[in-house]
Amino acid sequence: MDLDKLLSFQWGMMTPEFLILGTATILAVLDLFMPKKMNRNILGFFGLAGIVAAIVSLTLLLGQDTASILHDTFRLDSFAKAFKLLLLGGAALVMLLAIDYKPKEGMEEYRGEFFYLFMTALLGAMMMSSSGDLITLFVGLELLSISSYILAGIRKKNTRSNESAMKYVINGGISTAITLFGMSYVYGITGTTNLREMAGLLSQIDNPQHVYILGLAFLMIFVGLSFKLASAPFHMWAPDVYEGAPTPVTAFLSVVSKTAGFVIMMRVILSVFAAVPSNDSDLPLLFSMQDYIGFLAGATMIIGNVIALRQRSIKRLFAYSSIAHAGYILVAFSAMSVVMFDSIWFYLLAYLFMNLGAFAIIQLMTMKEGTEDISHFAGLYRRSPLLAGAMAIFILSLAGIPGTAGFIGKLDIFLGALMVDPAHYVLVSIMIATTVVSYFYYFGILTQMFFRPAAHHEKIALQPGTVITVIICAAATVVFGIMPQLAFDFFNSNFNQFIDFLQ
């Protein structure tokens, strides 16, 4: 490739990625040359500025037509734009939390790493949402994963953080192996790694044996990727890793990394398997796999919500709750209604705000304590009514109580699942039933906050970054709960129903 060719690419469409990459590089260099004693917080703010700049550049790109560069490996379509916005927004809020994160034993020596690893993980996630090729997709996935492994173990002197990172790496390795195995079948049949070419070749497939192999490949890819979603059967790492990892990392894993998981899931599965004809019906293979996705969605919702009932540690509880939420989103995915993209995008948006807001408060309440027991929340209403009020908003939204964004998200999924023919009423019933189960543990936290006396009455030291996060999240949760049309209008006017998803 000569220089002219290189310059002829529309590099402008990668501006957000370049900004993040540049920020990460500068952070790494700065960290290397900064005096050891100097406070690294400035690096965090620099990283935040990078993310905000990326958001701005992405909004400027919103109007741009769909295009791809680098031999169709990098696509900027409306799907990529929509989900990159979520990823960047989530990462910005996580960065605010990370700046305020100061564990008991201290981690000044690696605070620089802490910040730029978030940036590289984010870069990986963004690459995934724009990939048009299995190779870039996989590289993005690994960039996200490897950065997250280190982040989970960043508290080097804390054994639980180490344990968490170790478990994460091992499980991540297994999941990668399974995913790759599945992808290799698809490659073997089509002989290409480009998603669009694959779709074209697969739509003409007429050998039933190949279709059968593709079915197996589908299952492997789905199960492998369910690791990132923390959904059944690859959910078991979540509680251990969430508990041991530093709280901002937990927040990152449960929101940004999960969103990235859904992004790659939709990219691969919808573009590849929606094209494969089925052996026994006129519909694509994807539709005959609906039952499997539905089954795993049901299992995920049940496991997450039922086991959450017995948790005492707030972070483990949120781990199971995040498993359950992955299950809810999978319901929308398995229904494959016309509003699938709207509902998944909106749910992830709502989930981003309600979950990050909750994690901001969890970080505030547990950072100074050695443990994460729920009882730290006792009497929060007495100690700080506004914090308790904000936490109540997040909890109510997670539980799906009307007036919050979480309710609209769930309602959207319900309606989507009932809109299709045949309606998925079994899944909807499981979803309603497990939502009811979730009331028990969510309201346990509410009871702690409002109806129990506090163990000690000292004021809670508020930190600016955390407070900003809480305010943004609470406002967004309520605004999108009362006026969801704001989000849907934005979605419809900018992303045009992802009509260019496969073009």
Partner: protein, 620 residues
């Protein structure tokens, strides 16, 4: 009527103002709350007056677009909700005034008023909703307000439990409503009341579906209105402050269930089975709760069971196609039951106990409360010329005319019980001599007497807007322009009125003989039928039954799943684990058996899926 949407906003404003400035305002918070609810009340009265002359007003706009689907939000002023607006804002206003005296000196005074504002907002919003979805949203919000108010004295263990129980119990009902609502949407493609009723009328929805959705919606009403078998939270909810009991657990929230059935009445009317269910549950609850009320010793619990029983009456009326009777009783009950609760609060305020065994002889000491309590008691007992007499008569006529004679006689028996236990309560509290020494018994301040006096007037007067003697004005107006709601007045045999009067008078007489004249021993029931007494005293052991089944059931399921997690799955992969462990004994200690388990489970999951796929996917 274009401005009706402002009505709920005043209490919301009160909530927000008190949330922010409550600490500074202290007890002056009461004035903010009182003024803002007064504004709501004034507007509601104006709306009602306007609705007499103008047709129903409805305003809606698109709230949410999902695909091609447009969900709307807005408000509607029809006869039913114009009436409800006045009832809710009036009782709320009076409770706001009353609480100034009752809650005086409480350190969380502003918080109490803030919660009252939130609750009133939710309740008024519920009443104005023109579609099921919006109703559901406010329905949940009402539950939240009630949760906060019941648990207001959170330092009391019992209050905390009661709040939780109320929340969970009503939530079980809410799920019924949610499913019913979604099913209706699935069938008719709309959440709008009008459109749903239109589809039902056209026959677009199958008979079984109508019955099913109506019953599911009724389950929601059962939870909120404390009907059997989800009634157990309501008596426990008496742990909340007494003004709350008057507002929420007498006049507004518990009536929301009845309101919901009334608002979706055309749906119920289309299914005989659904109506039957409503009337049977209603009649059974009426007699069941009344029988428990006979032996309770706590003044508020007696009233709580009486509320459950009266709500059962309303359900019976609606189930007997007596739309007007149900709504009429909803209104009169709101007034006389709120009066009774406020008067009970005044008694508790004076003697600092809720145990009626310890009271007695208060007639002379509480010179305002006592006669007002008597008015409420006469009204609820159905003594002629009081409001309860007329509305109860309407219900009995509806039950008789609708044809189910057994339910009619159940209702008559329940009326006898009601008169008996209410006068038992009255005599034990006010008649005779004090049974324990009480010092400093004093009448409550004017701020508490005034609301009671207003309600006292209404407890008598509100009956006269719908009587067989002076015209059925309310009934004719309520059903005007909507044939699905039935007739404004149902003619029944005249003897029903006489029977009702006799029954209520004999209940009073029996109470008089036992508790004042003492010509029948009080221990009569205990000595003759100790078993019955104990069953009644323990509320038919319903709570114990739930404790046994649900709680243990949930525990068992959760244990079972844990068992699977820890033993079955781990046992299954034990072989793998052991193998890996012997191979990698050098592995660090952190890698306990668990990580392998996680991976193994993913593998097993994948394998199971693949085997299923192999078996069903056509290869084998």
């Amino acid at each position: 009527m274009e401005n009706a949407w402002l009505i709920p906003l005043f209490p919301l404003l009160s909530f927000l103002v008190l949330l922010i400035a409550g600490r500074r305002l202290r007890e002056a918070s009461a004035y903010a709350g009182i003024l803002l609810t007064l504004a709501s009340l004034a507007m509601s009265v104006y709306m009602l007056a306007e609705r007499f002359t103008k047709p129903t007003f409805k305003s809606e706009s698109v709230w949410l677009t999902i695909g091609d689907l447009k969900l709307t939000a807005g408000f509607e002023v029809n006869q039913l909700n114009a009436l409800m607006l006045v009832i809710v804002s009036l009782v709320s206003f009076l409770v706001h005034i009353y609480s100034r005296g009752y809650m005086h000196g409480d350190e969380r005074f502003p918080v109490f008023y803030a919660y009252l504002g939130l609750f009133t907002f939710a309740m008024l919003g519920l009443v104005l909703s023109p579609n099921l979805l919006q109703t559901y949203i406010f329905w949940e919000l009402v539950g939240l307000g009630s949760f906060l108010l019941i648990g207001f004295y959170f330092y009391k263990e019992s209050a905390k439990h009661a709040a939780q129980k109320a929340f969970i119990m009503t939530r079980i009902g809410d799920v019924g409503l949610l499913i019913g609502m979604i099913l209706l949407f699935w069938q008719t493609g709309s959440f709008e009341y009008d459109e749903i009723f239109a589809s039902v009328k056209e026959g677009a929805v199958s008979e079984t579906m109508i019955t099913l959705t109506a019953i599911l919606i009724f389950i929601g009403a059962v939870g909120k209105s404390g009907q059997f078998p989800l009634h157990t939270w309501l008596p426990d909810a008496m742990e909340g402050p007494t003004p709350v009991s008057a507002l929420i657990h007498a006049a507004t929230m518990v009536a929301a269930g009845v309101y919901l059935v009334a608002a979706t009445f055309p749906l119920f009317a289309a299914s005989e089975t659904a109506l039957m269910t409503v009337s049977v549950i209603g009649a059974f609850t009426a007699i069941f709760a009344a029988s428990i009320g006979i032996v309770q010793k706590d003044i508020k619990r007696v009233l709580a069971y009486s509320t459950v029983s009266q709500l059962g009456y309303m359900m019976l009326a609606l189930g007997s196609a007596g739309y007007v009777a149900g709504v009429f009783h909803l209104m009169t009950h709101a007034f006389f039951k709120a009066l009774l609760f406020l008067a009970a609060g005044s008694v508790i305020h004076a003697v600092h106990t809720q145990d009626i065994e310890k009271m007695g002889g208060l007639w002379k000491k509480l010179r305002f409360t006592a006669p007002l309590f008597l008015i409420g008691t006469l009204a609820i007992s159905g003594v002629p010329l009081f409001s309860g007499f007329f509305s109860k008569d309407e219900i009995l006529v509806a039950a008789w005319v609708h044809g189910n004679k057994a339910l009619f006689w159940l209702a008559v028996t329940a009326a006898f019980f009601t008169a008996f236990y209410m006068f038992r309560l009255f005599f034990m509290v006010f008649a005779g001599e004090a049974r324990t020494h009480m010092k400093n018994v004093h009448e409550s301040p004017g701020s508490m007497i005034f609301p009671m006096a207003v309600l006292g007037v209404l407890a008598i007067a509100s009956g006269y807007i719908n009587t067989p003697w002076f015209g059925t004005f309310l009934g004719d107006w309520l059903v005007e322009g909507n044939s699905a709601l039935g007739h404004g007045h149902v003619e029944g045999p005249a003897w029903i009125m006489i029977v009702a009067t006799l029954v209520s008078l004999s209940g009073i007489l029996l109470a008089y003989l036992i508790y004042v004249k003492r010509s029948i021993s009080r221990d009569w029931l205990i000595s003759r039928a100790p078993l019955t007494y104990n069953v009644l005293r323990n509320k038919y052991y319903i709570d114990e039954f739930y404790g046994m089944t649900f709680v243990y059931g949930a525990k068992a399921v959760s244990l079972f799943l844990r068992f699977i997690e820890t033993f079955l799955v781990e046992g299954l992969v034990k072989t793998v684990t052991v193998f890996v462990q012997t191979l990698g004994k050098t592995g660090s200690k952190i890698q306990s058996g668990q990580v392998q388990t996680y991976g193994a489970i993913a593998f097993v999951g994948l394998a199971v899926l693949m085997v299923i796929f192999a078996l069903t996917g056509g290869y084998l």
